[in-house]
Point group: C2
Chain length 207, copies 2
């Protein structure tokens, strides 16, 4: 298994290489990648070694080959079904975003406790009441549940997702979720990332 | 300066301790924190040592003292003004979120190129045209700019923010931004974090 920091970099290489390809770049060197992504050149060479693609000395890597291998490593070609619970501001922003398909994720249903949202569509995705969760997860082999409900409801929603057979949870609520050992939880703390930014800013201003 | 991984954990301790306090907890042990946040106990003890608060043997840390010290370390009491450029799905979700105030951030103005949005309010925050950026940044001593425009417009918006005097950029567009050396950029790649989740899921299923 690949260490998490390296795993987190791979999607960024993927997004960057797709963009380079759109601009007509066919061959690219690891030092060019390092410069553009503000990474250490040794780090980039190590990461490229994780792919089975080898660069040619003095010219570089075949961009298409890297894109294909990264997509294979990250399982992008195997579209996974996911549901979003909590279709408020953040949930609906995720449902409206077209970019997830390219990363192998199909947000195919939303759930909410607000009667005004149930029966509507957000980003062309149907919104259901929670009592339909079990059947929709089961019928569509849904593996991933996204939690975008207020913090105080997150654990309850998490329990329902696990009960319905979900194996992995992407949690946006700023709270720690208790789950059985075989369930994967990825916490997304947007506010924590912001704190890092403003701390870096305060430190800089003190210098 | 504190290493980034530790810095990223501090807001999570802060959010967790505030929640514990709301539930009436006054004293807490580092092993309890480690268990609840799924962190290694040695890691938590090291992190707590970064605060000037010392725990009492066999009882633990004073929750209020930790909260106050973490807020001081993360500069939460010093409200920083920020602007959001791109008030579409993601930008408006951020503008509607009340939680940023507690982390020392005041999203006080939005900007967008869509005439239908200019002059409106999102989350009670006024939306302006971009030609007002310089004067609003200057008059309100704005330090942070949040970029939530489509990828192809992000570099252009970034240049305008830097030109207006912004010192730090929180970038949600999936593209690398080129900035002068003294400008801080924090990239938020939501899709990359998702990839980590689905890769962990695929790896688990192969076992
Ligand atoms: N909006 C942001 O930018 C942002 C930023 C950081 C963190 N968050 C976190 O993301 C979560 C969602 O934030 P938001 O701004 O979208 O909130 P919101 O209030 O706009 O949306 C929450 C939605 O969840 C639904 N809901 C509440 N309880 C439910 C339940 N038990 N079952 C199903 N649906 C339920 C509500 O009806 C509502 O539609 C919160 O936990 C928040 O702390 C949001
Ligand atoms: N929505 C999500 O969940 C999500 C997830 C991951 C990444 N992103 C990224 O966040 C960004 C915003 O996504 P979104 O879903 O909110 O898109 P969106 O299309 O809903 O919103 C974009 C907004 O930016 C405005 N805009 C475009 N060009 C501009 C310019 N030059 N100056 C000022 N405003 C301009 C548009 O008028 C629109 O209101 C994109 O780069 C996207 O890739 C979004």
């Amino acid at each position: 298994n690949m260490p998490q920091p390296a795993l987190r970099r791979l999607p960024q290489y993927f997004g960057y290489l797709v963009q380079q390809q759109e601009q007509g770049v066919r061959i690219i060197s690891s030092s060019r990648i390092a410069e553009d992504l503000n990474l250490h050149p040794v780090q980039v060479r190590k990461d490229m070694a994780l792919t089975r693609v080898s660069g040619k000395p003095r010219t570089g890597f075949d961009v298409q080959a890297l894109i294909d291998e990264l997509a294979r490593m990250l399982d992008y070609n195997n579209l996974k079904n996911a549901v979003v619970v909590g279709c408020g501001h953040l949930g609906s922003a995720l449902l409206n975003y077209r970019g997830f398909q390219g990363y192998g994720l199909n947000l195919m249903a939303g759930f909410d406790s607000n009667p005004e949202l149930i029966g509507s569509r957000v980003g062309d995705v149907p919104i259901y009441a929670l009592d339909e969760l079990d059947s929709i997860v089961h019928e569509n082999h849904v593996q991933i549940g996204v939690i975008t409900v207020p913090r105080d409801h997150a654990q309850d929603v998490c329990d329902r997702l696990v009960g319905a057979g979900i194996k992995a949870i992407w949690n946006f609520a700023p709270t720690h979720l208790f789950v059985p050992a075989d369930i994967i939880v990825q916490n997304e703390n947007i506010a924590a990332s912001l704190s890092v930014l403003s701390k870096r800013l305060s430190d800089q201003q003190l210098r």
